[in-house]
């Protein structure tokens, strides 16, 4: 039997920011409550890593390395209709398992797209736990 290895996967959340920022607080609160239900379940199974909300792309700054040195630009890396608005890190043994979690997340907060990308750990987090 092949050895089962746990992989880190990222679930990258893309949404149209103009739609998300226009939502009412009541809508957001309801969506957050549903998402919390999903993540609590994933955490109970010991699969949940960090979950991160990204502030709107208007707060983004991009550093681009050009021939004549680096250039700092106000704004996101790419102007697209949908933006990366947040991500989850989950530990799963298969893509199917991640897709099942993504499905629950999508149902909790419909709209946009979720991209699943395996994560390679580069170097560990040297900071002490908060």
């Amino acid at each position: 039997m092949p050895e089962i290895t746990v992989m880190h996967y990222s679930i990258l959340c893309y949404k149209d920011e103009m739609v998300t920022v226009a939502r009412t607080k009541a809508y957001d609160d309801a969506a957050m409550a549903k998402l919390e239900g999903v993540t609590r379940q994933v955490a109970a199974e010991g699969k949940l890593g960090p979950a991160v909300t990204l502030l709107p792309t208007t707060t983004a700054t991009t550093l681009r390395q050009g021939r004549s040195g680096s250039l700092v630009i106000d704004g996101p890396f790419a102007e697209t209709t949908e933006q990366l608005v947040g991500f989850y890190i989950v530990d799963c043994v298969s893509l199917d398992e991640v897709l099942a979690i993504a499905e629950d997340l999508a149902n909790a907060n419909p709209g946009g797209a979720l991209e699943i990308r395996p994560v390679g750990v580069y170097f560990g987090d040297p900071r002490p736990a908060p």
């Binding site: 103009m18 208007t58 707060t59």
Partner: protein
């Protein structure tokens, strides 16, 4: 999600872009409103069957243009029609829309739309009403409710504003750099007015008007999306976010104002604060400080303090000094005096505001601040007179309640010099 919910959210999001593009074609707010309404109506009929189009804004612009042109053909044969090639059949909407939608122009289109609604020739109340009605798409009833006036009165206000706009002849050519900067400045001013209208009226009646504050933030973000490298646009957006972040802590259960130094800071919205602070940081890199950035920096100094007594009042005093140099006004001086009061003491603060007593004779905050300074200096009778004047000028019941508490504290034996420490 129900059909009407997701379609509604797409329509709200697409609205500024669509209305702006239609305005370029038709140059009349009335035709544009009607065309957008017709396009929305068709979207409600069409999208549940066919699913949302790839580009909702482009779809709505095409349908709106066709409907507007039909309308013109029927009603006013003598008016010159937009170029024939703009009119395409309903079948090729999805195929041609992306090419037909002049994306290079949409920034100027939206800016023009905002500018038309924020035109400096309009009185402030008409600017706000028009921006909320045309850009945000609030109904006349919603706008009327926000201003606490009747629907008929609001309808009349909007009609008057449109007539003035038509008479003002805003040019439809792409603006030059100077003109563009002037338009951005006019739009920023109106967005700030919308926010202030919501901010000061919250708590005025049983219905909360914070919807106007959210709407102002949405408009600021729209403008920031168009001009992501304009420091003053970042500044205003940051300012509004930092003010709005405190909204949950501004009133107690009875609806009375909770002063900044008594607010429960755990109720402040951490995400809005983070976004506001990030924008100020980005703006500062441009080294072009302007009034909105300075005001945002003042708001930031307040939210950075974990507790009220940690507030860096001398920085705030310096920031108000900078604001005073850029935009001298008695109200700014009054605010600087309050910072001086906190940083140094009541005596120099009182000396700063005494020369303002004519200009600010009918300003609530002047008398409230003067009363507070006098109270701390132990001059109870003068303080009482100032507070009485403030109560008479209060803008909201909550303000009046707060000042009455100050007056009561004057008569209670516990009142004294140390009340502000």
């Amino acid at each position: 999600m129900t059909d009407s919910a997701w379609i509604g959210s797409l329509l709200i999001t697409a609205r500024p872009k669509v209305v702006a593009a239609l305005l370029r074609t038709f140059r009349s707010l009335d035709i544009v409103e009607e065309a957008f309404q017709e396009a929305s109506f068709r979207a409600l009929k069409n999208w549940p069957k066919n699913g949302p189009p790839r580009d909702a804004a482009a779809w709505l612009i095409m349908v709106g243009r066709n409907s507007g042109i039909d309308h013109l053909r029927k009603t006013a044969r003598l008016e010159p029609l937009p170029a024939e090639d703009l009119h395409s059949g309903p079948g090729d909407i999805e195929a041609t829309s992306v090419e037909q939608l002049d994306t290079a122009n949409y920034r100027d289109d939206i800016l023009r739309l905002l500018f038309v609604c924020c035109h400096p020739e309009l009185p402030a109340t008409q600017q706000i009403a028009l921006a909320l009605r045309i850009v945000s798409g609030l109904s006349v009833t919603q706008v009327a409710r926000a201003f606490l006036v009747s629907d008929a009165a609001m309808e009349q206000r909007i009609t008057r504003a449109k007539a003035r706009i038509a008479a003002a002849h805003v040019p439809f050519e792409a603006p030059g750099a100077v003109e563009r900067a002037e338009r951005v400045a006019a739009v920023l001013a109106t967005i700030y007015l919308v926010f202030n209208e919501g901010y000061t009226s919250t708590g005025r009646g049983p219905e909360s008007q914070s919807g106007l504050c959210d709407e102002a933030i949405r408009l600021a973000r729209l403008l920031l999306g168009l001009y992501p490298a304009e420091p003053e646009v970042m500044g205003l957006t940051a300012l509004l976010l930092l003010q709005q972040a405190r909204s949950a802590a501004r009133f107690d259960a009875e609806g009375s104002t909770v002063l900044l130094d008594q607010q429960d800071r755990s109720k402040w919205d951490g995400l809005q604060i983070a976004e506001g602070l990030a924008l100020i940081d980005k703006a500062a890199r441009h080294r072009l400080p302007g009034p909105y950035q300075i005001q945002a920096a003042i708001a930031a100094a307040h939210v950075r303090a974990k507790q009220a007594q940690d507030t860096d009042w001398s920085s705030i005093e310096q920031l108000y000094g900078a604001l005073e140099r850029q935009q001298p006004s008695p109200v700014v001086t009054l605010n600087r005096a309050v910072a001086v009061w906190k940083a140094v003491g009541a005596e120099p603060a009182l000396a700063m505001i005494e020369p303002l007593d004519k200009e600010l004779a009918t300003y609530f905050y002047f008398h409230a601040a003067r009363g507070a300074f006098l109270k701390q200096l132990g001059r109870a009778e003068l303080a009482r007179a100032a507070f009485d004047r403030a109560v008479a000028l209060a803008n909201t019941p909550a303000e009046a309640v707060h000042i009455r508490q100050e007056i009561e504290a004057l008569s209670s034996p516990a009142s004294g010099r140390n009340c502000q420490t």
